[in-house]
Amino acid sequence: MLSNTAITPSTLSVKDLPWQILWNKDKCTLCGKCTAICPVNAIELGVFRKRIVQTSLEPGATQSSDHSIFYGIRQKTDPAYSCVGCAMCSLVCPNDAIIPARSDEADKLRFHINKGGRPRTRGGRRNVPGSLLDQIKFIRISMLTDPALDAGRHEFELRTLLGRVLSPEENLKFVEKNGWIPPVREIYPLIIGGMSFGALSPTMWEGLQMGVAYLNEELGMPVRISTGEGGCPPRLLRSRFLKYVILQIASGYFGWDEIIHSIPEMKVDPCAIEIKYGQGAKPGDGGLLMWHKVNSLIAAIRGVPSGISLPSPPTHQTQYSIEESVAKMIQSMYMAWGFRVPVYPKISGTSTSLSVLNNLTRNPYAAGLTIDGEDGGTGAAYNVSMNHMGHPVASNIRDCYLNLVKVGMQNEIPLFAGGGVGKTGNLAANAAALIMLGASGVQVGKYIMEAAAGCLGSESDRCNICNIGLCPKGITSQDPRLYRRLDPEQVAQRIVDVFISFDIELKKIVAPLGRSTSLPIGMSDALGINDRAAADRLSIKYVV
């Protein structure tokens, strides 16, 4: 830019951007791979003009000042093309000549991503690093009074129940009188949370399903996966693998025409039906699949025209009261499968979760409650929703569990926690902490994308472009050129790795606590934290 050019309020320099591309001219071979792979076209071939001053020390020799040209990489400063820090350029560079670096101060770009009055939308997660769950320690170590167990050799039964569990009195009465006992699934306490076919690429979805099938059929781990709101491929609906799948219905009802019509042809029942009322990443907002990702395949499965954005309403349009219509919806879904499939709601973490829960305790059909905390992920949402809306999951789950204790229904309505589990990589520790706070199990999404498919997103606003179908790893893209980068077989292999290592770590946590024959749900005496306020709030021990 010339020094006397007019500037606009949104004219930014490279320094003003969140990421600066560091490029080394000496190493660069000008192969062009980086510019080709950049998902947001943040870099382009640059032609640089450079003055060369040639002087000689010989008296009388000619002095010259010349201009030459060299080629290299230029970073764009237009907000629409700003670097997202994914570092795919580094990944493909044969000579390690290029890398994005985080700006040394808060960027100025953030003040300008609202062109035309449209606030920033993105995919990803809450851009706040760190997690309270990481601060929780397991302090009740079995010592001489009750020997710690050998995590490697002891027998463990670390399963959980999904479904409405009757009280012992009612259960025995119904057994005796041959009454209806709600369906209950014995499942692994780590569930792959709802990521829709559409939000995820076909290769990613296939990889997840293959991994889950392998875990179940070859390793005997009853792992379950939620479809998210986007329907389910017709072949899966008609296969025996459907029993590993939790079908999600949400406010857009996408894909449910196909699901309902395939019920007569289903070989097995699905694991459960999850009614999504809210999502931790964007509480009070509906799902959103932007037009970039709605190709003909997605459109066909969801029963919509292709190439249009698919915003789900913030709430189910048929719901006007939890007492009546939510109960009716739960019952209708039970009825669709002959009362053989558990149906439970999923809500976003909120200070009103107790009233939802209290209502469910009086609904004899509610099969559980999933609470998705503020650190949950999403394919697409407003930045403000992700960063500022929502409730932390730990205190929400704890309040709900203690409330169930008060009414004597703990574990009868199993609570599942999601949102930020394994946020900093400590999946098993976070999951165990939530279980001991009262969750019957946990749901994970982002961790699976990161560990099983190499998602590059982070809490410091790296990448986060899941919404526009440009995922450089092919995880959340519907563009075959991108999703071909992801090999479903390898995703499946990674899923298996993740679950096996999680299982080992979970045993490494519960065995020293002396627990092996049942999941330590609500074992709050095992937990400690070095933050007095958090300890008081969660009713666990304060330790320093």
Partner: protein, 376 residues
């Protein structure tokens, strides 16, 4: 760790037999206290089987408060057993005013009550007395139940026996349960001392129940007044036993299916699979995660021993017709019943419940993989 011994005999026995057997096993406990439960009593209590007996420790003031309270409710003292102990207790034993064992006459208006109502009122009275005692620190009440005496104290078991003259002629019982150690991993508190007792059910436990807190929370939320206390993690075993039999109407054979259910593979091959699966689901909150050896007594005076899933605690049962003993260690059994057929000694494993019924004829072994007796 604590050591346990339980005896059931056709002929009344002195509790000293149990305490001496505990002493033989002293390598396994620290001699820091003793808990004693006597049922199916002999001596002066032989002819007053229906009279509720109050057992506890009282200060002089507490005793006066007790008398006033019981008079107000309408209870009349029927018989009292005095423990005259020397003024100076042995080292480690606190100075107490009165160790009380007193049988009462029911108030007149209680006479036509149903058993259920009677039992419920006795329980409420005991809890009320415990509450009063905790308020002023002048009463500790262990049990208030017909044909039942409980003595608990801190100190070396044999020293205590001498101090309280446990060897006296008039103190005899056909069912005796004893535990050595003022057991608790929490604060020292006599309410944390085994055996625990509720409405005719009693258990004592060797080991730590690692699932204590969730179970305690669940029991306390059952809405049954007696499910309270929990100064020890082992008290939940007594209450789960009471809950299983008295509230759920199941048999003692089902107790182990509640506290340590079969694992899925074994469950699938069980003749009562459907029932047990339901029981495992709905009683999941009551799964104790051990390691524990539980010895208990039922209202009909049956004795039993159950091991947890891990079988990390010792336990043996043996004896002869008319006299059986459940003991933590074989040396304790040897001390209590030396003349028995040792080939018939049995150490229950992770699936077993050993039961000696009220007839005291034999040891019945109930394996968890066996069919359950039919529910009535």
């Amino acid at each position: 760790m604590c050591r346990l011994i339980a005896l059931t005999s056709e002929e009344p026995l002195s509790p000293m037999i149990a305490l001496r057997a505990l002493d033989v096993m002293r390598e396994g406990h620290d001699g820091s206290g003793v808990g004693l439960l006597l049922r199916d009593l002999a001596g002066p209590f032989e002819n007053m089987k229906d009279a509720p007996i109050l057992s506890g420790i009282f200060s002089e003031k507490g005793l006066k408060r007790l008398d006033r309270f019981m008079m107000d409710v309408g209870f009349m003292t029927k018989y009292r057993m005095s423990f005259k102990s020397p003024k100076t207790p042995p080292p480690g034993v606190p100075r107490r005013d009165v160790y009380l064992v007193r049988a009462y006459e029911y108030p007149e208006e209680w006479e036509n009550l149903s058993n259920g109502e009677l039992y419920s009122r006795l329980l409420i009275l005991r809890l009320e007395l415990q509450r009063m005692g905790e308020e002023k620190g002048d009463m500790i009440v262990f049990s208030f139940w017909p044909d039942t005496i409980m003595i608990k104290e801190i100190g070396e078991p044999l020293d205590l026996a001498e101090h309280l003259n446990i060897n006296r002629m008039d103190l005899g019982a056909r069912v005796i349960m004893a535990q050595g150690r003022q057991n608790t991993n929490y604060e020292i508190n006599l309410y944390a001392c085994h055996p625990f007792f509720i409405q005719g059910f009693s258990t004592m436990t060797n080991g730590e129940n690692t699932a204590f807190i969730p179970i305690k929370e669940y029991m306390m939320s059952r809405g049954f007044q007696g499910y309270t206390g929990y100064q020890s993690d082992s008290e939940v075993f007594t209450h789960i036993l009471h809950y299983t039999i008295s509230q759920l109407g199941l048999s003692i054979e089902a107790y182990k299916h509640v506290i340590t259910p079969l694992q899925d593979e074994d469950l699938k091959n069980h003749p009562d699979y459907q029932f047990l699966k339901q029981l495992k689901h709905s009683c999941r909150k009551l799964i104790t995660d051990g390691p524990n050896c539980v010895i208990g007594c039922l209202p009909d005076h049956s004795l039993f021993m159950a091991q947890d899933r891990k079988k990390l605690r010792p336990g043996v049962v043996g004896g002869r017709e008319g006299l059986f003993c459940f003991s933590s260690e074989i040396c304790g059994l040897d001390a209590a019943i030396p003349d028995r057929d040792k080939n018939k000694d049995f150490q229950p494993m992770h699936l077993d419940t050993a039961i000696v019924g009220p007839d005291r004829k034999e040891v019945t072994i109930c394996c968890q993989t066996q069919q359950l007796p039919h529910l009535h």
